[in-house]
């Protein structure tokens, strides 16, 4: 490597040979393997050697994982792209302009955005497969797919964790946020592109860690990884904590990057009054991420120490409820981390598809911000069954009050649609479905906020139905709305309207038939986290499973449609929806430079009184960055 330093000053290298490099992902895997083996061996065989212990111990696997993730990140390109320049060496990482750019470290926000989108898509498919296995098992009251309950519970945990931390938290923020925020505010890059390039590669590492965790031992705690149960689980729980740590770190870095981008990279003329709704949503989410992700990371570090050393923080001699408190302190804001971008998307898509000015915009923003603030005050409604009765009322109060700012998202959306010229296409359909589903989630949320009702339906399938309505019903349906709405922008092509609508109606019906019946299962006494249950619940579970498979097929159908049209669809116009937001005022898909020159914004983006564009292409270029 020393030759690089001397060659830096212009002299050509004597021994430069053209040799193909290893694909970065392969190199990352290799370095990860080496890192793991070296660190694991050092810890388990040298520093922490104990009689009778296997090669992989709790301590060694934890530190080995740290080394492996380091190796993976560096190997995939961060070594040349970020670390060496940081240490003062010249940057020597060139990303080719073909499909290869998606499989290596990159600093282009569009590449990173797509990498995030496909990472979260991968997580969605894996966790969805886990859900299918679970539904298959639940078709019978006895165990028949899994050969022991621990295997089923591990599957539940993998499903929940991957869905929450790599899809719910990532898909609309790291994915569509990274791709579209710079475009929507008229910038050519994000604020910290290198950091963004590194943070993306934590997502596949985190997903892989969580998915492979049962190999270390079945963990039975579900996605909360809750102590004190986790403290007596086999070592698989370690990979839960570590995997989530990687995923949350990634989201934390995204939050910092996008907040700084929105505040500092706006095009001239894009004043605070003109910030697009989606950017407002991302801003609100980023602030939530910045506060609550470090919180849960610290909790997980303590739980990890609890499992590795072990320190009995959360055991009976410690404080067994503290973990639950700390988890839900994060856990409820997490729910809003997931749906706030969905609300913002409704308010982004409906004015465009209705070709009508956004209704009561200020209330939409107030709604997003107050949801963000209140979300930190409601956590204990997850714990009505294990708290003192006197503590229930304040939390019940705030939980009920949060429906007011949430309602503003409906106020804005419904007001925008009233007397619009509404184009009933696939994105609109998904948006309306998302509104309908979240409404059911919200109404049942009011029921759950009531302590007396909560004491009966908590930890039953009623709750499972409720949060699937908010997460799949609102967020995943909005995610699909975003996929179809921005499809021409991402791919330069157009999806098929007919098959798009078929897919939308398909998943809508299957989704409601599946999770609508969950409410009744819960009320009828079906408890959570069980692969076996009394036989009277069998007929309904059997039938629900059939709808669940239909739902799974519906998702696969949609993805196949998207993939097919991405390659074969008819070429789309640059701005097929006649939208006014900035991302549509450039080529589809955008070139290497989003805007050249940077446009000057002269009016708001949600004014559809006429067809004038909200920008003027300014003659002076932005100072080169």
């Amino acid at each position: 490597m020393s030759s690089v330093v001397s060659d830096m000053h212009g002299a050509r290298s004597e021994h430069a040979r053209v040799k193909r490099m290893l694909p970065p992902v392969v190199r990352g895997l290799l370095w990860a393997l080496i890192g793991f083996l070296v660190m694991n061996t050092l810890v388990s065989e040298v520093f922490d050697r104990m009689p009778y212990h296997p090669f992989i111990t709790r301590a060694s696997v934890t530190l080995g994982w740290v080394a492996a993730v380091g190796g993976w990140i560096l190997g995939v390109g961060a070594w040349e792209g970020a670390v060496k320049p940081y240490l003062g060496y010249p940057e020597e990482w060139v990303v080719p302009q073909d499909w290869r750019k998606y499989f290596m470290y990159s600093t282009d926000h569009k590449v990173i955005g797509l990498q995030y989108i496909f990472s979260s898509l991968g997580g969605f498919l894996i966790a969805g497969f886990a859900a299918m296995l679970m539904r298959l098992e639940l078709m019978k009251g006895q165990m028949w797919i899994f050969n022991n309950p621990g295997a089923y519970l591990s599957t539940v945990g993998v499903h929940g964790t991957v869905m929450m931390f790599s899809v719910g938290t990532v898909a609309l923020v790291g994915g569509f946020g990274n791709y579209f925020i710079p475009l929507m505010i008229g910038a050519n890059s994000t604020s910290f592109p290198r950091m963004s390039g590194v943070s993306q590669w934590l997502v596949p590492a985190g997903i892989a860690t969580v998915v492979i965790s049962p190999v270390l031992g079945q963990w039975t705690t579900g996605w909360r990884g809750y102590e004190p149960l986790a403290g007596q689980d086999p070592a698989g729980i370690l990979f839960y904590y570590l995997g989530v740590f990687a995923l949350t770190t990634s989201s934390l870095l995204v939050a910092i990057n996008l907040t700084a981008t929105i505040l500092f990279k706006r095009a001239p003329g894009l004043t605070w009054n003109r910030i697009p709704m989606y950017a407002w949503g991302i801003l609100a989410v980023s602030l939530l991420n910045l506060i609550w992700l470090p919180e849960i990371q610290m909790t997980f570090v303590m739980a990890l120490l609890n499992a590795v050393i072990p320190l009995p923080y959360f055991a009976q001699i410690g404080s067994p409820l503290t973990y639950m408190e700390m988890f839900w302190l994060f856990g409820h804001p997490e729910v809003y981390i997931i749906v706030v971008p969905a609300f913002a998307l409704w308010q982004e898509i409906l004015p465009v598809m209705g070709q009508k000015s956004l209704f009561a915009r200020q209330w939409g923003i107030i709604g997003l911000v107050f949801v963000m603030i209140l979300s930190g005050l409601v956590w204990a409604h997850h714990m009505f069954t294990n708290m003192r009765n006197s503590q229930m009322l304040p939390f019940s109060f705030f939980t009920e009050m949060i429906s007011i700012p949430t309602g503003f998202a409906y106020l804005v959306s419904l007001g925008t649609m009233w007397r619009a010229n509404l184009k009933l296409n696939t994105p609109t359909l998904y948006t309306l479905m998302s509104m309908f589903n979240f409404l059911i989630g919200g109404v049942t949320g009011v029921l759950l906020a009531d302590p007396v009702v909560n004491l009966q339906v908590h930890d039953s399938f009623f709750v499972v139905a409720h949060f699937h309505y908010t997460v799949i019903g609102a967020m995943v349906f909005s995610w699909f709305a975003a996929f179809f709405y921005w499809f021409p922008k991402l791919s330069g092509r157009m999806y098929n309207e007919f098959w798009g609508k078929v897919g939308a109606i398909w998943v809508f019906i299957a989704f409601n038939m599946t999770f609508g019946q969950f409410f009744f299962l819960g009320l009828h006494g079906m408890n959570r986290w069980v692969p076996v249950y009394p036989s009277y619940l069998e007929p309904m579970n059997f039938e629900v499973s059939l709808f669940a498979f239909l739902l799974g097929l519906g998702f696969v159908f949609n993805f196949l449609h998207i993939a097919w049209m991405w390659n074969k669809g008819p070429v789309a116009k640059d701005n097929p929806w006649q939208a006014k937001t900035l991302e549509w005022q450039t080529a589809s898909p955008p070139g290497e430079q989003n805007f050249d020159p940077i446009p000057k914004v002269i009016s708001g983006f949600y004014d559809y009184r006429d067809q004038r564009l909200p920008i003027r292409n300014s003659p002076q270029k932005e100072p080169t960055s």
Binding site: P149, T220, P228, Q355, S396, D450, P451, L455, G525
Partner: protein, 271 residues
């Protein structure tokens, strides 16, 4: 104005239909099967909330549907709607006031009042003639002790734990999580949740703490009558969690005393 009128009519119609449906659901019992007064309290709160929320639900659903049909674009391209407005102070004000009012109502009525009813009524029952049952949750078994009758670990013929309760009696469950048999580290207890679905209430059991749950049984029933009359662990507690179940029998006072005698005889024989 015509749109508003038409929408209002549809909304009222759908709300009325919805209410009819909801009331018939409530009539059949949203909790499916109830066996305590606490379950009835919960069911009443549930019914009140869904009754009030039905018109709200209908308002939004009908509006989505109405917008979809009435204001859909009939042309192939995109064209700005001829009717543009940014705000409607009347609509926004009503919306905000109604949402605040509804939330305050819910907080006052089912939330605060039902919590009061469910828990504060216990106070006057303290030290009355409650049946005390010590419930011990351990991985993965329920153990029921009747200290007033010197019964430890009530069992059926197979050695499975069983819970017998007299009807029309307040029962005080004293809930603890630990392992009297020491099959695992006694300091490493986990959280369980004591739930009898037909009783309409559950309480988590925290290692190291003692918690109480009160119910007032109101009908003679048993696991054989309806499988919702069973103790079921509701908080995941390890691989044995789904199996942590025990049948419940609510019987007349005479039958209860007979059962007590039989258990006492059984225990005398064992020791």
């Amino acid at each position: 104005m015509g749109d508003i009128l038409a929408f209002t009519l549809v909304w009222i119609l759908v709300s009325a239909l919805g209410e009819i449906g909801i009331q018939s659901l409530i009539h059949h019992g949203v909790y499916y099967y109830t066996a305590t007064t606490q379950a009835l309290d919960g069911e009443a709160a549930f019914a009140f909330i869904i009754t009030v929320l039905t018109p709200v639900f209908a308002f939004i659903v009908v509006m989505i549907g109405y917008d979809m049909i009435r204001f859909r674009s009939r042309e192939p391209g995109m064209r700005p709607s001829p009717r543009q407005f940014y705000n409607n102070k009347v609509f926004v004000s009503i919306w905000i006031l109604v949402s605040i009012a509804l939330n305050l109502l819910f907080f006052v009525h089912p939330t605060a009042s039902a919590v009061e009813q469910m828990f504060n009524s216990e106070k006057e029952r303290y030290n009355r003639h409650d049946l005390i049952i010590n419930v011990t949750a351990r991985q993965w078994q329920w153990l029921f002790d009747y200290p007033q009758y010197n019964i430890t670990q009530a069992q059926d013929a197979n050695g499975n734990s069983i819970l017998y309760l007299p009807v029309d009696r307040t029962v005080r469950f004293v809930l603890r999580s630990y392992d009297p048999m020491h099959m695992y580290d006694p300091y490493a207890g986990v959280i369980h949740s004591f739930w009898i679905p037909a009783f309409g209430v559950k309480q988590d059991i925290i290692p190291g703490e003692t918690r109480y749950m009160y119910v007032h049984t109101n009908k003679v029933t048993s696991y054989n009558v309806d499988p919702m009359v069973r103790v079921q662990c509701a908080e995941v507690c390890g691989p044995g969690h789904p199996f942590m179940e025990a049948p419940v029998h609510v019987v007349s006072n005479v039958d209860f005393m007979n059962w007590i005698k039989q258990q006492q005889k059984l225990q005398a024989g064992q020791s």
